[in-house]
């Protein structure tokens, strides 16, 4: 699935929640609960995403030209939010991640339910993902 196909899928899932804030929050947490467990040792300061109010850890590896992310957070909602990004970007090529336009955020009215502080944190997660993409792109070019 392409980045945009996954975004469209997420948009239609959120549309079913009909703007009900409580349902949205519970749904986000449910998504987080489905995120594969991250190795305890990976939840280190080195892998911490800076700029989040909650603790967020992220690692990535390259497999067959696609990047795969592992992430976790100490709060359920943030874990849900990072799981959405993992779902969108997992398996995508560095180039596509770097060029991605994340229109789903506006379409699902994200800023309305995550607030300013979490918005900044979410921005930091996206930045971290793009940094990984840039690093792997450079690595691939060097090979």
């Amino acid at each position: 699935m392409t980045i945009n196909e996954t975004q469209d899928q997420i948009i239609s899932e959120f549309a079913l929640l009909d703007g009900d804030m409580e349902m949205i929050v519970f749904y986000i947490m449910e998504l987080g609960q489905k995120l594969p467990e991250m190795k305890v040792g990976d939840k280190s300061e080195l892998n911490e995403v800076k700029g989040c109010q909650s603790k967020v850890w992220m690692t990535a590896h390259l497999d067959n030209d696609g990047i795969y992310f592992q992430a976790d957070s100490n709060t359920a909602i943030t874990k849900g939010l990072v799981s959405i990004l993992v779902r969108i970007f997992n398996g995508q090529r560095p180039e596509d991640i770097l060029n991605a336009d994340l229109y789903f955020m506006k379409k699902i009215g994200m800023e309305r339910f995550i607030g300013t502080q979490r918005s900044n944190g979410f921005g930091a997660m996206i930045k971290q993902i793009k940094l990984y993409a840039l690093a792997f792109k450079t690595q691939l070019a060097a090979n």
């Binding site: 703007g19 009900d20 804030m21 409580e22 929050v25 947490m29 909650s54 100490n74 709060t75 909602i77």
Partner: protein, 413 residues
């Protein structure tokens, strides 16, 4: 079934005085339990603000025209109202500041710079807000003074025996809060002030969490300084007072330079104005100061004892309901408290609880509440804090408890 609340107050009628409460948040009726951060404003405060700007906005004290006179009188009337509110002896002992934080900074900076010497000691408690820690750290570093911290008991009370041990002739300043913002603990400040005086120390009280709930009598307390924020007592944001004993304030150098605080200025020498103006440099926050008088009027009209009685009922009700939830741990169980209850839920981060409650229109505070050392002493990085004001009801607490039950059920499934 809700128990009968303090019958003296008609809470529904009081709620009508607060336009902000009548709204939907995330499709649900707003329940505002973040009163320890700031409480909401009654109509008379809001109207005083707009009336000031609509009818008599003018710069105070130096004008000879009618509007300036009217604005000056309104501003000074609030000083008298605050003097009466805390039973101070003289109006010039009431200095308008931006609030408690500025009041503490003023004292730390002005008094500290003039009187602290190397090796002098400042005693704080482990219950303090960062506002009553950082200004002292800054001046202690500058004057090479030493900060000592009173330990807190597991229930969240000041350990008076430890305080007694810390006091010595080296103690110059004791700075503690009247009531804790994180835990609600009401501290035995009168006793503590007496003990400090025995060793010749002066005492500053951070009254941020007390002004809307507890009777304040600075003469009876005999503290040297008492600090209040307007916005935590139904008044506007951005203003508050520093009460200081006149003889001390007179000895203290000005804190900021500018207009209003001077008598004569020449490039050779400036002479400073008298109290309280010496400490009120620049055009003050006139509108908010003027409206603060209405907040005092609101509290006086209801009666602080009546407000306290209602809030106490709410606190007891909430505490009992929260304690009945098996995974909830109450943080702060002192015997005397203002209407603040902190808690944590096993396995669920306070941020998640805060956001899930917000989705149901319930405003609580989550995090360290600007008391990181206190949180550390409890081994926590934060709590959920529900804090109640006179307009809150037991029915609202029921909605909170119901919301928490749903969260616990969802996340522990």
């Amino acid at each position: 079934m809700a128990t009968l609340l303090a019958p003296v107050l008609n809470i529904q009628k009081i709620r009508e005085e607060f336009p902000i409460l009548d709204q939907q948040v995330n499709g649900k009726t707003l329940i505002y339990f973040d009163n320890a951060a700031t409480n909401q404003k009654p109509k008379r405060v809001i109207e005083a603000l707009s009336t000031y700007y609509e009818k008599y906005n003018a710069n105070i004290h130096r004008g000879i025209h009618t509007l300036a006179e009217k604005a000056t009188r309104a501003y000074e009337d609030t000083r008298l109202a605050m003097q009466e509110f805390i039973h101070a002896q003289n109006p010039e002992e009431i200095i308008f500041t931006r609030g408690v934080t500025e009041s503490i900074n003023l004292v730390a900076s002005s008094y500290g710079r003039a009187f602290l010497k190397e090796g002098d000691e400042i005693i704080l408690s482990g219950l303090e807000h960062h506002s009553n820690i950082v200004p002292w750290q800054m001046i202690a570093e500058e004057r090479k003074a030493i900060i000592k911290v009173i330990t807190i008991t597991p229930s969240g009370e000041i350990d008076l025996d430890h305080y007694r041990q810390l006091l010595s002739p080296r103690t110059k300043i004791v700075a503690v809060n009247h009531a804790s913002n994180s835990l609600g603990t009401i501290n035995p400040i009168k006793e503590m002030i007496g003990m400090a005086h025995e060793v010749g120390a002066i005492v500053l009280i951070d009254g941020a969490q007390a002004s809307a709930h507890l009777a304040i009598d600075v003469i009876d307390l005999d503290c040297e300084f008492y600090c209040i924020s307007s916005h935590k007592m139904y008044g506007p944001t951005g203003t508050g007072i520093l009460y200081g004993k006149k003889e001390l304030l007179e000895k203290m150098p000005p804190y900021m330079g500018g207009g209003e605080m001077i008598k004569d200025v020449s490039f050779a020498k400036t002479t400073y104005n008298e109290l309280p103006y010496k400490f009120e440099a620049g055009t003050p926050n006139i509108a908010d100061v003027v409206a603060l008088k209405e907040a005092v009027g609101f509290i006086n009209q209801l009666g602080k004892e009546n407000i306290a009685a209602h809030e106490h009922e709410l606190l007891s009700y909430a505490t009992q309901k929260l304690a009945s939830l098996s995974s909830v741990r109450l943080i702060g169980t002192a015997s005397k408290k203002v209407s603040v209850q902190s808690f944590v839920i096993e396995g669920i981060h306070p941020f998640d609880i805060g956001q899930m409650l917000d989705a149901r229109g319930i405003a609580v505070r989550t995090g360290h509440h600007c008391t990181q050392p206190l949180m550390e002493s409890f081994g926590l990085d934060g709590t959920v804090r529900a804090s109640f004001a006179v307009y809150n009801t037991e029915e609202e607490i029921d909605v909170l408890i119901d919301g928490l039950k749903r969260i616990i059920a969802f996340l522990n499934k």
